[in-house]
């Protein structure tokens, strides 16, 4: 029996990280008491005029560039008309005909291959008020009304829930690293609507839209459940209707909300209160040049420094660490990343602090990494002085001196310790000479144990190799 194939398209609404709203000068911040950041424009008072926020346009343009879109040099806004309490002026200002970016793509990695997901368009619009429903009443908070959004609409290019999730992960990574949005799905600053259809032939089936899914993993579950539901309907002789649904995480199923509106129902027409907006070549070039180093470029740098794939992804997932590493181009990044992802991160988690809260200056960190890289200090010393490195303004040398930390660099003393260890581990020497290189680590460990971790590692290594060769 021929199987149904899924076709998936995704619309993402993403709040832009501006100080103020899209068309008004009230604060863009709704994680505060209700109706605090509001003004006459947000409330749709008659006689008010929207004025475009320059920075919001810059962020939207940055997104359009990063999503490889063709940029509309001359744009206007449109009114999308509908009646609902969260939109008191009766229309949402959006871009229907001249979106800021069109015909772009995002590259995802799926099963070891690269696949391009087409971006139909990316347009600027304003958010609506937030509604909280309780029994027969709704409660409105206009702090969110007018918050700048970009809506990113894909082509129906995804064929599985894995592809959809990979696309969202990549999109989130791009928007977050370029400082365009917080991308906090749990707080609603990134919201997903998923269009799903199934078909046994090349002709696309009727699609449904599942709105406002709360997490990327839920997107995967919602797609699979909706496809399963559609298959059951079709197999039982029914037909799929174009409708808007929502996903219940609790019940793991999609639930009908309403029969879908079409473009005509919204009666789009140009927003006459906002003149044409033009983007010059110089301006586009300037915005392009302001884009920071993006994750894929950073991955290449880390790979060049022989950082493991697992650690590369761990660094990318923690933008603070990734940004911090950008400060260094002449240290061993592998050691640096190990310290940051290991002991330093553990310390920060324990103390509930951020890296920026500490006194770990670039200079101090560089010294530590270089000393570890040259084997001038053992790891134990770093662990011992970690709290001091992070919490005091003292230099590395001052901390070492103040804590009476000494590394044994006395060749004669080390020679004696090394020979004692070798005398007690004759079989290990034979194993090493038979090609078991890992034995060296074991012997190093024994010496470090004997010296309570204070021996100069590079010196120990040198003496150890010399003494083994004599036997």
């Amino acid at each position: 029996m021929t199987e149904y194939k899924k076709t998936i398209g995704i619309e993402v609404h993403c709040e832009l990280k501006t100080n103020t709203k899209m068309f008004s000068t009230s604060l863009n911040g709704y994680q505060t008491i209700a109706n605090k950041n509001i003004c006459a424009i947000d409330l749709g008072y008659p006689g008010t005029l929207p004025i475009v926020n320059k920075y919001a346009v810059e962020l939207a343009l940055k997104a359009a560039i990063l999503l490889n879109c063709k940029i509309n040099r001359t744009m206007h806004f449109d009114r999308k008309n509908y009646f609902y309490p969260d939109l008191p002026k009766g229309y949402q200002i959006t871009q229907a005909r001249t979106p800021i970016g069109v015909n772009g793509y995002v590259e995802i990695e799926i099963d070891g291959k690269t696949k391009k997901i087409g971006i139909h368009d990316i347009h600027i619009e304003e958010d609506t008020a937030k509604s909280i429903h309780k029994e027969d009443k709704s409660y409105l908070d206009f702090n969110r009304a007018g918050v700048p959004l970009i809506e990113i609409v894909t082509e129906p290019d995804m064929k599985s829930s894995s592809e959809a999730m990979a696309y969202l992960e990549k999109l989130k990574e791009i928007l977050y690293y370029a400082d365009i949005s917080d991308c906090k799905m749990e707080e609603g600053s990134m919201r997903c609507d998923v269009n799903v259809s199934i078909s046994k032939t090349e002709k696309l089936g009727v699609r449904t839209e599942t709105k406002n899914i709360g997490s990327i993993s839920s997107v995967g579950l919602a797609i699979n459940e909706e496809a399963k539901r559609q298959e059951e309907v079709l197999e039982n002789g029914g037909s799929i209707k174009e409708e808007t649904r929502r996903y219940s995480e609790l019940e793991n199923k999609t639930i009908l909300m309403r029969v879908k509106e079409t473009g005509n129902d919204y009666r789009y027409f140009p927003e006459a209160d906002i003149p044409y907006l033009t983007l010059t070549e110089e301006y586009i070039e300037k915005v392009k040049n302001d884009i920071p180093i993006m994750p894929n470029e950073r991955r290449k740098i880390y790979k060049k420094h022989e950082i493991s794939e697992i650690n590369i992804e761990k660094i990318i997932q923690d933008k603070t660490i990734s940004d911090y590493l950008l400060n260094f181009d002449d240290i061993n990044l592998k050691i640096a990343s190990n310290l940051l992802l290991g002991d330093i991160k553990a310390y920060l988690n324990k103390e509930n602090k951020k890296l920026s809260d500490t006194k770990l200056t670039i200079e101090k960190f560089k010294t530590v990494v270089n000393k570890l890289d040259k084997g001038e200090i053992p790891n134990k010393v770093f662990k011992d002085i970690l709290a001091n490195l992070l919490e005091t303004e003292k230099t590395f040398d001052e901390i070492v001196k103040d804590n009476n930390i000494e590394t044994i660099s006395d060749t004669k003393a080390l020679l004696e310790i090394v020979n004692n260890i070798l005398n007690n581990n004759e079989p290990s020497i034979i194993e090493y000479k038979n090609g078991h290189d890992r034995i060296l680590k074991f012997l190093m460990g024994q010496i470090m144990k004997e010296t309570k971790g204070s021996a100069n590692p590079s010196l120990v290594n040198k003496i150890l190799l010399e003494e083994i060769s004599k036997r």
Binding site: T20, L27, A34, C39, I51, A56, H76, T278
Partner: protein, 97 residues
């Protein structure tokens, strides 16, 4: 034809639900004709391929800086809101689930 007929004027008056006297009919025969001639000009617009007119002025947009000002206090707008609950605006529920 440089003016409308009496029947045409009365038809328009009927559509608009207004009474017009005989004297007014004579004026409207000419005025309505002029008005309709102006409306006819819409036919001269070339159509969808033209750059659409979104604004009566030729000026381009000057965006504003991303700086906060002009916020209003919720207490000041409460008088325009029939029902509130704490700091929320209260309305009848409108979800159709």
């Amino acid at each position: 034809m440089d003016k409308l007929s009496k029947e045409e004027v009365l038809h328009v008056a009927d559509l608009a639900r207004i009474y017009v006297s005989d004297e007014e009919i004579e004026n409207y025969k000419i005025e309505l004709k002029q008005l309709l001639s102006d409306v006819e000009k819409i036919k001269d617009v070339k159509g969808y391929d033209d750059e659409i007119l979104i604004s009566p002025t030729d000026s381009f947009l000057t965006p504003r800086e991303d700086v906060e000002k002009d916020t209003v206090e919720f207490n000041d707008i409460k008088k325009n809101i029939p029902n509130t609950f704490g700091n929320f605006v209260e309305v009848p529920v409108m979800i159709n689930e």
